[in-house]
């Protein structure tokens, strides 16, 4: 990791690469010479309420590289609207200069070069410094965590989320909602929830048997004389997208009418400000904001979008704070006479080489890490390619994973889940065990091997595509397309379910997939109970050890039409 002092020099060194790409502008890099923590934290206090939002940390306690997607398509009414803009279009939409710090933080253009110049992002000890600075200006600021917190790293998997819980408690989180937390299983979730010094909110979490609310729906805070209701909304499709046998007692769902009931309830109880701490995903929240009356602020999560400005739907503002600790949102509000009269927000990028680590939190992180450090830091191989995950259809990490699955499990076709978490590795870096777990850690990581017919494969691709490209956001589950290895296909995202996918072929031979023929298929993250096979990270480790050095260009097996 480069030190803070080296931030600028590294930027200069990278400039040659940027210049060569013909896209970047190293004059912009030079303009960052004076970037300081004070500048990153600069904020003119506004109004009388401050919210601090973090979400989708995915157990990344330390700074990471995280490349944002180059493809993030929207369909229907939200086509071309944020967050469905990427690259140069994104920069243009928000008036961000190419090659600048925010261009690096928010887009994928020139990622390698800019990463070397600007360094890793995130780290909960840096987040703590930002939180403390905001609290110094606004002692009554409310710190809210949108969930997907206790999952996503080797240490979180091994400690069943405890390393993260300890850090978040030390950070002073005041309420949270949930998604991947539930993959720890009900018993462990309840054990942690009972230990939390703050509420675990979920207005949409119901008891399966009686179909009645099972968790605290909201918490009323009183800050600066303002009554703030924070309503939690857990990920609606947990029992569908994740293994419901791990939390069979609970039902989720969007439950829009329930949200309206709770909003009405908190308003009747005197709330001056209604905040929804949501794990719906951005498009679902945008639709909900237009249909549920009386929410002032939705702090969105799940789909990992970082949007530098609030999105307005009627009188509701939507805040999208990114993922993996890359950003903290500060939301200042003017609340008077029971109404939100105005807002000022900032998506604060956590440049880990610029923002000082809070030693108190560093100590907590290191204590949680200590039992697993040697195991985590063992070098398995190196990479000469950029390994990243995000994108609607594929990324080099998943290309490598599919290679590993096909090779180690001797399968014609590999399937890898379209999750959106998992940090990036730069060319020239070691691949440690922790890096592999960073893109795979989960409690149902068995790598199965089975046979599927061509018709089955088409059905799976159609089903997942509809989770992503259904024009009604309420039917979207918020992941990306399932990744495939050994299989090529064409997708028309403008079609409806059953008609999007065609031209399925075996990539190696170019032979068309026959609906009635069986193919050997291996994959991981099955939601079915009793799935058998080695853990996916072991499969990848074996593969990477054999390769020694990984070289993987992005696969070109998916043809996208209907844009």
């Amino acid at each position: 990791m480069i030190s803070r002092r080296e931030f600028w020099q590294a930027g200069m060194a990278a400039s040659a690469i940027v210049g060569a790409s013909g896209l970047g502008n190293w004059g912009r890099l030079a303009a960052q010479q004076a970037l300081t923590q004070d500048q990153l934290l600069a904020f003119e206090d506004f109004g009388n309420v401050t919210l601090i939002h973090i979400t989708d940390i995915h157990a990344q306690m330390r700074p990471v590289w995280f490349r944002e997607p180059s493809i993030n398509l929207g369909v229907g009414e939200v086509k071309g609207l944020p967050p469905h803009v990427t690259g140069a279009e994104f920069l243009k939409t928000f008036g961000i200069e190419p090659g600048s710090t925010m261009a690096y933080a928010l887009t994928s253009d020139d990622f390698q070069a800019l990463a070397r110049g600007y360094g890793r992002m995130g780290g909960m000890d840096r987040v703590s410094t930002v939180v403390k600075a905001i609290r110094a200006a606004r002692p009554e600021a409310l710190l809210l965590d949108g969930g997907d917190t206790w999952h996503g790293s080797l240490t979180a998997l091994k400690s069943q989320g405890q390393d993260v819980v300890d850090v978040m408690n030390a950070l002073g989180v005041e309420a949270m909602t949930s998604h991947w937390e539930w993959t720890l299983g009900t018993e462990r979730v309840m054990e942690i929830v009972d230990s939390l010094p703050f509420p675990f909110l979920g207005a949409n979490i119901f008891d399966v048997e009686w179909d009645e609310p099972a968790f605290e729906p909201y918490k009323m805070f009183e800050r600066g004389g303002v009554k703030i209701a924070v309503i939690g909304q857990a990920f609606p499709y947990l029992p569908i997208a994740n293994p419901k046998w791990m939390f069979p007692e609970y039902s989720f769902g969007i439950r829009e009418e329930r949200m309206q009931e709770v909003v009405d309830e908190v308003r009747a109880a005197g709330a001056d400000l209604v905040v929804c701490l949501s794990h719906n995903g951005f498009d679902v929240d945008r639709k909900m904001a237009g249909r549920v009356q009386g929410i002032d602020v939705i702090l969105t999560g799940h789909t990992h979008d970082a949007i530098p400005e609030p999105v307005l739907v009627g009188d509701t503002i939507l805040i999208a704070s990114g993922s993996n600790g890359k950003f903290v949102s500060r939301v200042d509000l003017d609340v008077r006479d029971g109404r939100m009269m105005g807002f000022r927000t900032r998506l604060i990028p956590i440049f880990s080489d610029v923002i000082e680590a809070d030693p108190e939190i560093t100590a907590v992180i290191e204590a949680g890490r200590a039992p697993y450090r040697d195991e985590a830091e063992e070098v398995i191989g190196t990479t000469e390619s950029l390994l990243y995950r995000r994108g609607n259809f594929n990324g080099t990490w998943d290309d490598l994973i599919c290679d590993a699955v096909r090779s180690e499990r001797d399968a014609q076709i590999a399937l890898s889940p379209g999750v959106r978490w998992g940090p990036t590795l730069l060319p020239g870096e070691d691949i440690t065990r922790e890096d592999i777990l960073g893109v795979t850690a989960m409690t149902y990581g068995q790598c199965y091997r089975t046979e599927m017919t061509g018709a089955d494969l088409k059905l799976i691709l159609e089903d997942v595509a509809d989770n992503l490209f259904n024009t009604d956001p309420y039917y979207q589950q918020g992941g990306d397309m399932v990744r495939v290895g050994g299989l090529s296909y064409r997708i028309d995202i403008s079609q409806e379910i059953g008609k999007r996918i065609d031209q399925l072929t075996l990539t190696d031979t170019g032979a068309a997939i026959d609906p009635a023929t069986s193919y050997t298929v291996a994959g991981w993250a099955s939601v079915n109970e009793g799935t058998e096979g080695p853990q996916i990270w072991e499969v990848i480790e074996d593969h990477v050890r054999k390769l020694g050095t990984v070289r993987r260009d992005p696969a070109e097996t998916v043809t996208v039409t209907g844009l």
């Binding site: 998604h179 990920f235 997208a241 994740n242 769902g253 999750v419 978490w421 039917y475 589950q477 918020g478």
Partner: protein
């Protein structure tokens, strides 16, 4: 259809009689609708059908209907081999004209509810419930 204890309880409290429709398996949804409405074209408004957008378990999908002032509500699962699910009849003593139950859905389909209002008119509400093979949420 099968009523759980809780649902039976609610129905009982409301002074409601729930009648299952044992129509022949091959009876078309149209027949059930025609029998219920007498051929009248239903309007909209005044009837709320609450169903999940995506079923967590297609074998037991919780739905509820609410139509203040209705005398009866017909529920159909249009994509099932046997579309008629239930008709809820509300007597004059009913405290509210609402009911909840769980239905089995064979595949992704539209659930249709039609309410007979006190003035003899009909209103309908529809909701698509997706039955999925499971995905990978981010």
């Amino acid at each position: 259809m099968r009523l759980s204890r809780r649902e039976t309880l609610i129905l009982g409290l409301g002074g409601v009689a729930a009648a299952a429709l044992p129509l022949p398996a091959m009876a078309a949804a149209e027949e059930a609708i025609a029998a219920f409405t007498g051929g009248a074209t239903p309007g909209t408004g005044g009837l709320t059908l609450t169903a999940p957008e995506i079923a967590e378990n297609g074998n037991t999908v919780p739905i509820s209907v609410d139509a203040p002032g209705a005398s009866a509500i017909l529920v159909l699962a249009l994509g099932n081999p046997t579309p008629p699910v239930a008709t809820f009849n509300f007597g004059p003593a009913a405290g509210s004209q609402s009911a909840s139950t769980r239905i089995r859905l064979a595949k992704t389909q539209e659930v249709l509810a039609i309410a007979k209002m006190a003035d003899g008119s009909f209103v309908e509400a529809r909701s698509t419930v997706k039955v999925t093979i499971g995905g990978c949420g981010g």
